[in-house]
C-alpha cells in the first residue's frame, strides 16, 4: 500500500534526525569525533527540512540553500577535524572530558 509523502513526513524525519543529533551531542561523553558526526546529523536534518519545504512549496531557494549548507558543513568538518588532530597531538586523547580548560 502506498502512502503519499507529505510535508509532515519530511518534517518528522527532520525532527527525528535533529533530536538524535542533539542527543548525541549532549549525552555523548567520550569522543569528540562523535560530536562532530552528530553535528553533521543536525545540519543534515536542517537540510532535509529545507529541501522538503522547498519541494512542497515549489520554491527552488531552499534546495539551493541546502547545497550551500553541504559545502559549508564540509569545510566546517575539515576545520573541526584539524582541531581534533591538534588536540590529540597536545593531549594524547580525544576524550571530551579532557577539554575542560574553560572550567571555572
Amino acid at each position: 500500500m502506498f502512502y503519499t509523502l507529505t510535508l509532515s513526513h519530511v518534517l518528522t524525519l527532520s525532527a527525528l534526525l535533529f533530536t538524535m543529533g542533539m542527543a548525541g551531542i549532549v549525552l555523548n561523553r567520550r569522543n569528540i569525533i562523535a560530536i562532530l558526526m552528530c553535528l553533521e546529523l543536525v545540519l543534515l536534518s536542517v537540510s532535509i527540512n529545507l529541501v522538503g519545504t522547498s519541494y512542497f512549496r515549489a520554491d527552488i531557494t531552499g534546495q539551493i540553500f541546502s547545497m550551500f549548507i553541504l559545502t559549508v558543513a564540509a569545510a566546517e568538518l575539515a576545520i573541526g577535524l584539524a582541531i581534533v588532530t591538534l588536540f590529540f597531538r597536545n593531549r594524547g586523547t580525544i576524550e571530551i572530558d579532557a577539554a575542560d580548560l574553560m572550567k571555572g
Binding site: I25, L27, N28, R29, I96, D97, D100, K103, G104
Partner: protein, 690 residues
C-alpha cells in the same frame, strides 16, 4: 634707612624660605640619588662602615648647589638682621609693622600675614639668624660625609624660616604657624637619620609631647580670641586693662594655657622629656634647634605677651616655680649623665628654667638677656661637643673618652679652648656672657616684691653651683686624661679597648676638626665671651622701648641692683667652688665620684634615671593609652571595620564560589544549556501564539 626697614624685615624672614625652596628644586634637576636612600653614616658606626661608591660629578653638584643656596640665604638674612638690630639700637630705625596680605576674613575677623619689627623681634632675629648661619657653615664640615646632606640643609633653612616667622609675626595666628613649623622641622631633623630606630622614636616623642602642649596652647588661643575678639598683639595689649577690670579670670586662664604651650616647646619640667631624646639628631641640629632657638620660643612668647602676663600675677607665680623646679631638676640630672650631648641638653633645660623664673618675677628683660647670651654659649658648647664627637669618631660617652687612652686636650686643642669659653660662660664666671645675664636673673628673683622670689633665688643659686659642676665635669672628664694613670689603673680596660679596636677595622686616631667646623664656632665664642658685656643694656626695661611691659608694682628688675652685696656675689662664689670641686672630682681624684655614688645609692639612682619621669609617664600615660589604643585596634578596627568589609567580601566570594560550579568547561554542557534555553524559549513563544 627707615624707608627700607619694612622691606629688609620681610627679606630677612623670607630669605631662608627662598633658600630652602631653591634647595628643594635641586631634587627636580637631580632626583633622589641612590646613596640618599641607603644608610648614610650615622652616629654609632665608623665613617667608613657604609663607604658610599665614589660620588658622581652630578651627585656632588646636587649637594653643593643646595648647600650653597641655603647657607648663602641664611648668611644674607644674618647680615640684614644685624643691620636692623643695630639700626634699632642706635635709633636710626624705628619699630615698624608691615602687612603682607590677608589670609582670610570673616565678618570683623581678618587673619593677616606680615611682620612686626621691634626690639624684641629684632633680638630674636639676630639670635636665630646668627646661630643658624654658624650652624649652616659648621654643617658643611660635620655632615660632609652624609649621603643626603642637601636634605639636611633644606630642613635647616626651612626651620630658620619658620622660626623667623614665629618671632616676627604681628599676630598669634601667624606666630602659631611658625610655632608648628619649627615643630615639624624639629621632628624632621631629629629623625634625620631615619634608619636609626632610636632617632625615629625620639622624633615621634618630641612631636607627641609638643602636641600635648600645643593642645593647651590652642585652648589658650581660642579663649584669647573669644575674650578679646582678636589675635593681633597690638589690639590685645590695648584691651588688656579693660578686660582685666571685668574678667580677670579669663586673663589668668589664657595666660596659664599659653604658658603650658610654652612649657612644651621650652622643655619645662613635666613636658621636658622629649628634649634629651632629641639629642638623637645630628649635633648641629641640637645646637640650632634644641639649644639656641626653638626651645627659647616659649620664653619669647611669654615676653611678647608680657602685658597680658602682668595682668595675671598668680600665673606668674606658677611660671616662676615651674622654672625653678626645671632649673634644679635638670641640673641634678645633668650631674650623672654620661652622654656628652645629654649633659648639655639637661643644661639647656636648666637654663630655660632660669629664663622662666625670671619671667615669673616679671624680669622679662633679664629673661631675654639670658636667652640671648645663652644662645651663643650653648650653641658654642653644642658645636664644641659635635667637634669632639666628630674627632672621636662618633663616640658620645664621656667615660669612653677617658678610656680611649688619648689626652683629648692635646689632640683637640682648639675645641678644648672653645669648650672652656663656653663652659665659663655657662657657669657664669665674669667677664663671660653668662655672668651678666644669670646674675641679673638671680638678683631679680631675690628682689621680687614681698620676698616671694627668695625660694627661687635659693634654688637658682644652688642650680648655678650644680651647673658649674656638670659643665666642667664634661671638660675634665673628656679632656683631662692622664695617660700614665690610665696605664697603671685601667690596664684591663685599655687592653680590652685595644682588643675591641683591633676587632673593629675602622679604628682611627682622634683628630682635630677641619677649619670649616672651627671657624663658625669663633663668632659664637665671641658672643659667649663678649655678648654679656656688649648687650648689658638688654637687662634694663628702658632698652626695650615698650616692646616689654612691666607693671609698676612688679619692681623686681628695678630693685635687682639694690640687693645686699653678699647675695650678689653668692652665685659667683658657688660657681667658682663648683668648678674647683669639679676639677678635684673629675680630673684629679676620679675615684671619689664613684665612692659618692656608692655611699648615696638612692639620690644617685634618681639622678641617673632622670627622676624616673620617663618611667612614671610610661605607667601613667603611655601604657593606659596603649591599652585603649590596642582595644580599639582589636575590637574597633580588626573586628568591627575589618570584620564588616571582610564579611561582605567573603559573602560575595562564597556566592561566586557557588556560581562557578555552572562553568564546567565541557562543551556538551553548554550545548545542552543552549538547547534547553532554545526549547523553552520556542515553547513559550509557541504557547503564547496558540
Amino acid at each position: 634707612m627707615q624707608a627700607l626697614v619694612p622691606q629688609l624685615t620681610t627679606l630677612a624672614v623670607l630669605l631662608p624660605a627662598i633658600g630652602a625652596l631653591l634647595g628643594a628644586l635641586t631634587f627636580l634637576i637631580w632626583p633622589t640619588l641612590k646613596a640618599e636612600l641607603a644608610h648614610g653614616h650615622d652616629d654609632h658606626h665608623g665613617h667608613d662602615d657604609h663607604a658610599p661608591e665614589a660620588p658622581t660629578a652630578s651627585s656632588k653638584w646636587a649637594h653643593y648647589v643646595a648647600m650653597s643656596l641655603t647657607t648663602g640665604s641664611v648668611l644674607a638674612a644674618t647680615v640684614i638682621s644685624w643691620t636692623l638690630f643695630i639700626g634699632l639700637n642706635n635709633g636710626t630705625a624705628e619699630p615698624v609693622t608691615t602687612h603682607w596680605f590677608t589670609w582670610f576674613s570673616a565678618g570683623p575677623w581678618a587673619v593677616t600675614f606680615g611682620t612686626m619689627l621691634d626690639k624684641l623681634s629684632a633680638t630674636m632675629l639676630i639670635v636665630v639668624t646668627s646661630v643658624s648661619a654658624c650652624v649652616h657653615v659648621y654643617s658643611w664640615g660635620y655632615m660632609a660625609e652624609d649621603a643626603s646632606k642637601r636634605r639636611f640643609f633644606i630642613y635647616l633653612s626651612a626651620f630658620t624660616f619658620a622660626m623667623l616667622m614665629l618671632v616676627t609675626a604681628p599676630n598669634l595666628v601667624q606666630m602659631f604657624l611658625g610655632w608648628e613649623g619649627v615643630g615639624v622641622c624639629s621632628y624632621l631633623l631629629i629623625g634625620f637619620w631615619f634608619h636609626k630606630a632610636s632617632a625615629n622614636a625620639a622624633a615621634i616623642k618630641a612631636f607627641i609631647v609638643n602636641r600635648v602642649a600645643d593642645a593647651a596652647m590652642l585652648v589658650g588661643l581660642f579663649a584669647l580670641a573669644a575674650t578679646f575678639g582678636t589675635l593681633t598683639y597690638s589690639e590685645i595689649f590695648a584691651k588688656v586693662d579693660a578686660v582685666s577690670a571685668t574678667n580677670s579670670y579669663a586673663i589668668s586662664f589664657i595666660a596659664l594655657f599659653l604658658f603650658i604651650g610654652a612649657m612644651g616647646k621650652s622643655a619645662q619640667f613635666g613636658l621636658h622629656t622629649w628634649l634629651p631624646d632629641a639629642m638623637e639628631g645630628p649635633t648641629p641640629v641640637s645646637a640650632l634647634i634644641h639649644a639656641a632657638t626653638m626651645v627659647t620660643a616659649g620664653v619669647f612668647l611669654l615676653c611678647r605677651m608680657s602685658p597680658l602676663y602682668e595682668a595675671a600675677p598668680q600665673v606668674l607665680h606658677i611660671v616662676g616655680y615651674v622654672g625653678a623646679i626645671t632649673a634644679i631638676f635638670a641640673a641634678t640630672v645633668g650631674l650623672t649623665q654620661t652622654d656628652i650631648k645629654r649633659v648639655i641638653a639637661y643644661s639647656t633645660c636648666s637654663q630655660l628654667g632660669y629664663m622662666f623664673f625670671a619671667i615669673g618675677v616679671s624680669a622679662y628683660p633679664a629673661a631675654m638677656f639670658h636667652l640671648t647670651t645663652h644662645a651663643f654659649f650653648k650653641a658654642l658648647l653644642f658645636l664644641g661637643a659635635g667637634s669632639v664627637i666628630h674627632g672621636m669618631h662618633h663616640e658620645q660617652n664621656i667615660f669612653n673618652y677617658a678610656k680611649s687612652g688619648y689626652v683629648l686636650r692635646k689632640v683637640l686643642p682648639i675645641t678644648y679652648g672653645l669648650m672652656w669659653l663656653g663652659s665659663l660662660a655657662l657657669a657664669g664666671i665674669p667677664p663671660f656672657a653668662g655672668y651678666f645675664s644669670k646674675d641679673l636673673v638671680l638678683e631679680s628673683a631675690f628682689a621680687a616684691p614681698g620676698g616671694w622670689g627668695l625660694p627661687l633665688y635659693a634654688i637658682g643659686t644652688l642650680a648655678a653651683m650644680l651647673t658649674a659642676i656638670y659643665g666642667f665635669r664634661i671638660i675634665f672628664m673628656s679632656f683631662h686624661n692622664k695617660p700614665k694613670v690610665d696605664e697603671a689603673h685601667a690596664k684591663p680596660t685599655k687592653a680590652k679597648s685595644k682588643k675591641e679596636a683591633h676587632h673593629d677595622d675602622h679604628h682611627h686616631t682622634p683628630h682635630e676638626s677641619p677649619w670649616i667646623m672651627l671657624v663658625p664656632m669663633l663668632p659664637l665664642a665671641f658672643g659667649a665671651v663678649l655678648s654679656g658685656w656688649l648687650l648689658h643694656n638688654m637687662g634694663t626695661l628702658e632698652w626695650w622701648d615698650g616692646s616689654i611691659v612691666i607693671h609698676h608694682a612688679h619692681s623686681a628688675l628695678h630693685d635687682a641692683h639694690h640687693i645686699p652685696e653678699f647675695f650678689k656675689k653668692l652665685p659667683l662664689i658657688l660657681a667658682i667652688s663648683g668648678i674647683t670641686l669639679a676639677f678635684y672630682l673629675f680630673a684629679e681624684y676620679r675615684g671619689i665620684p664613684k665612692r659618692i655614688s656608692q655611699l648615696l645609692p638612692i639620690p644617685y639612682a634618681i639622678s641617673l634615671n632622670k627622676w624616673y619621669i620617663d618611667e612614671i609617664y610610661q605607667v601613667l600615660w603611655v601604657n593606659p593609652t596603649a591599652s585603649v589604643a590596642r582595644f580599639f585596634a582589636e575590637w574597633g578596627d580588626k573586628k568591627g571595620i575589618d570584620g564588616l568589609l571582610n564579611g561582605g567580601a567573603a559573602t560575595v566570594r562564597d556566592f561566586g564560589q557557588w556560581l562557578r560550579g555552572a562553568q564546567t568547561g565541557y562543551v556538551y554542557h553548554y550545548a545542552y544549556a543552549m538547547l534547553l534555553a532554545l526549547t523553552l524559549g520556542l515553547g513559550y513563544l509557541l504557547w503564547k501564539t496558540m
